[in-house]
Symmetry: C2
Subunit: 102 residues, 2 copies
Amino acid sequence: MKPLFHPRVDDLDLSTILHACADPTRLRLLADINTEPGKTCGTFETELSKSTLSAHFKVLRESGLIRQEPGPGNSRLNWPRTAEVQMRFPDVISAILKSVTR
Amino acid sequence: MKPLFHPRVDDLDLSTILHACADPTRLRLLADINTEPGKTCGTFETELSKSTLSAHFKVLRESGLIRQEPGPGNSRLNWPRTAEVQMRFPDVISAILKSVTR
DNA sequence: CCAAGTGTTCGTGAATTGACGAATACACGA
DNA sequence: TCGTGTATTCGTCAATTCACGAACACTTGG
């Protein structure tokens, strides 16, 4: 599996991050990844098609909110980058995640 | 001056709020309103046209982030609703505002 | 080697966004 | 009442977003 692009902490942008969080689907995904780190892309509850979901993961990853690393088979493991993001923007992500209704 | 629509605290939506914050221009406006509450719409530093600015204020207002009340003449005074928003989504707005680079 | 499983990419289309200028609405002072 | 200042609304336009299915890429098990 090809490794994917991930922005460095220094390159994180607040507006980009907020935009990534602003979509209900992505916010749900992000929350799930934080509750259950290492989940594989196919294990999320959703009605959406695979391609749509893949696009959402891409937005999350490119914003710096998650890390996607090669997993077993052709899968990808999804990890939160919350700790890293907090270094740049303290409390933002944690506050948002706390407000997400399950 | 007509009073404008403002959502009740109970009707605030996290995604809507994050979307409102996700635009750099709006984030700038929001930060300015919080630093200097009661500012009038025309007193913001910007290159944008009146109509564009007005649209941004509308997004902020309808998301619940600011209150726009009639001011002297035909002006509108802009107030933060940060305290109200915090009741629904604790720390979210304050954390975002702290991360805004001046 | 082949089939099954897992994701990504591409092309498409509908809807939304963000920008603008022109027109409009409203309040106030002269 | 007539300008002037302030802000909203409207119509338009280009660009972006979000959704989908089809096609492709890659790994692994049989």
